[in-house]
Amino acid sequence: MAVVSSTNSTVMNNVEAVRATLYEAMKNDERTVILGEDVGARGNVFLITKDFIGEFGERRVIDTPIAEASIVGIAVGMAMEGLRPIAEIQFADFIYPSFNQIVGEAAKIRYRSNGEYTCPLVIRTPYGGGVRGALSHSVSIEALFYHVPGLKIVAPSFPDDVKGLLNAAIDDPDPVLFLEHKKTYRLIKGEVPRGHYTIPLGKANVRKAGTQLTVVSYGLYLHWALEAAERLAEEGLSVEVIDLRSIRPMDKTAILNSVEKTRKLLIIHEDNKFGGIGAEISAMVAEEALFSLDSPIRRLCGPDVPSMGYAMPLEEEFMSSPAEMADAMRAMVKF
């Protein structure tokens, strides 16, 4: 379990950070309810809610049937009537049945009711590849939802951000889609401050400062981008890496400030390239900062194929590697 590193923080991995934050939310606010497939008796497939049902009871930790539309639909009703539901979609690949509940209902409640109702709902879901999950356990879904006003989307990469942003998502009066990259669950460890704190939704974080190229990324790829940027630093090339953290609202200011400094922008994400988050960032920068650009904007993203393959070579073909990221960065710095 967690190693105590100092009196003010604990070293955790991402999955422990999710568990600890959910536990505190359940402990501190009786309105908090967790519902989803296998979240109760099984304690979630990653053991995130292990023993929660024993401590908080089955009225607050609810095992649902395999029916994603119902999970979100029930949670929307709970949220509108004063509870603080945290719904789990077991894998992001299974979120599609609940699309109507998320997009058609949750995101529009405030508007539809003329502000009379809000929908303080968090939908957590593990996403992303690199775990040989193939067709139904490796998809990225953010681009399907980021077009929708009324919905916030968060994708933290580090354990301290997991806690701060999950707390902010729970506190938020409107629906938040909380994306957890499953490959980072146990891979990424870091210091997590003790006690309750939040990190504002919509604020990016410059994880590495640099002067010659701006890289925007999130999720697993953010870590690989940082690794690639460190390689370039050894070659004397200076790359700034921005952890987007929140996909919507998007932190335009952080991106524009950085691009105005470096004059070059590379967006790296695992989700498919066409119509992805990188497309929106590119368009935004082209609109706002064209005359600061000293090279074409580039996107290093997943190819436009239906899924990662199960076979290792096919998965590797789909995913970018730190080496590929370093090559793309080097080419842009030297452009």
Partner: protein, 443 residues
Amino acid sequence: MATTITMPQLGETVTEGTVAQWLKSVGDSVDKYEDFVEVSTDKVNAGVPSPVTGTIREFLVKEGETVATGTPIAVIDEVGAATLAAPAASTAPAAATAAAPAGPAPQAAQSSPAASSPNGSPAPAAAAVSELELEGALRGASPAVRRLAREHRIDIRAIKGSGSNGRVTADDVLAAARTGAPAPATPAAAAAIPPGTRTSTYAQPIPGTTVPLVQARKIIAERMVESKHTAPHAWSMVQIDVTNVWKWRAREKERFERETGFKLTLLPFFIRAVVESLAAFPLMNARFVPASAGGQPSIYVSDEVNIGIAIGLPANLVVPVVRGADKLSIKGLAIKGGDLIDKARKNKLGVDDLAGGTFTVNNNGANGSWASAPIINGGQAGIVTMETVVKTVVVRDDDSLAIRSIMNCCLSLDHRVVDGYVASGFLAELKRRLEAMGPQGDL
């Protein structure tokens, strides 16, 4: 000056070119824009114009040889760059009646803008050709390079590029601006047309043209005249030791920028000191109210402290206002000020951002100004400047020497509202407060 000519990129996907034929020999003179080599690629055959006027010193590639784009192919000894535009324009009419100037070979004359004019009115053709060729030279120049080249009046064709395939990068342009590279030659057409009939813009003025005033410029002109004519300006300056506040800023800078996304400059510290000094001298935060019909003139002492920040833009001057500046911490001032400066640069200031100023701060030192005499913003009692921060050896009270960061601070005041007694008291207060800030504390 020797200019190295590289194999141009004649198309976006073209990576190499073949020297089909040298149109000149070593030792020949060549005019700027004159074709001196014919290059063939798998897509096009094209004459390549010389970027400079001069003498061919050396060919680095043989006819028939294929090299990568960006590879040096020839060296031309350039003659004085600054004299290019004028001779081209003045020889043009002569060319129609007399022989063309010595030098150009027949095929070169075809593409030499000045010499090719057949009818003695060369200007429009010359302009069209040179702009076309300029566009050709700019191809592959990024938006940032184009903007910086315009802002610094740099001819990017005269810069050696350090990017891939010899591309001129934004940093190359900035480096050229620092070392004083050649400015773009004025289009020959400009000189040939009577002065005053052509117009240009304030941001990109062209010699010999008229710049019509946009509305904002008209208002600036009117307000400046009005203020200078109605408010009798007096002037004073103090030297402020900003060593400690500078250290404080340096300590907080990185964290502040990371947390807020705004730069932490000296400005918010200065505004904080100004605001506190205005509280001690409320007459500096006042305005002269002329006599209305039948009434008496008066002075209105404002109960709000709204600080205008003068921001110079290429085509404009704007003074957005930090309202309620006395209620903001240094951090608050930095965020609000940073936001207004951002908006100003992006031309997004609203009416509310510009209204209600009671006193103005002008950060004048960025370009090295050491003292200045600003004009008061109408309806205020004063304007104060921050000049450049200079490290200076100073003699301290105990006769020891020290290296300190010193900033001049200049005040223009409306002498109808305040006299030297109040003004110098205000400046002394400002100096005392700013010198008491740092080297650490809470923002």
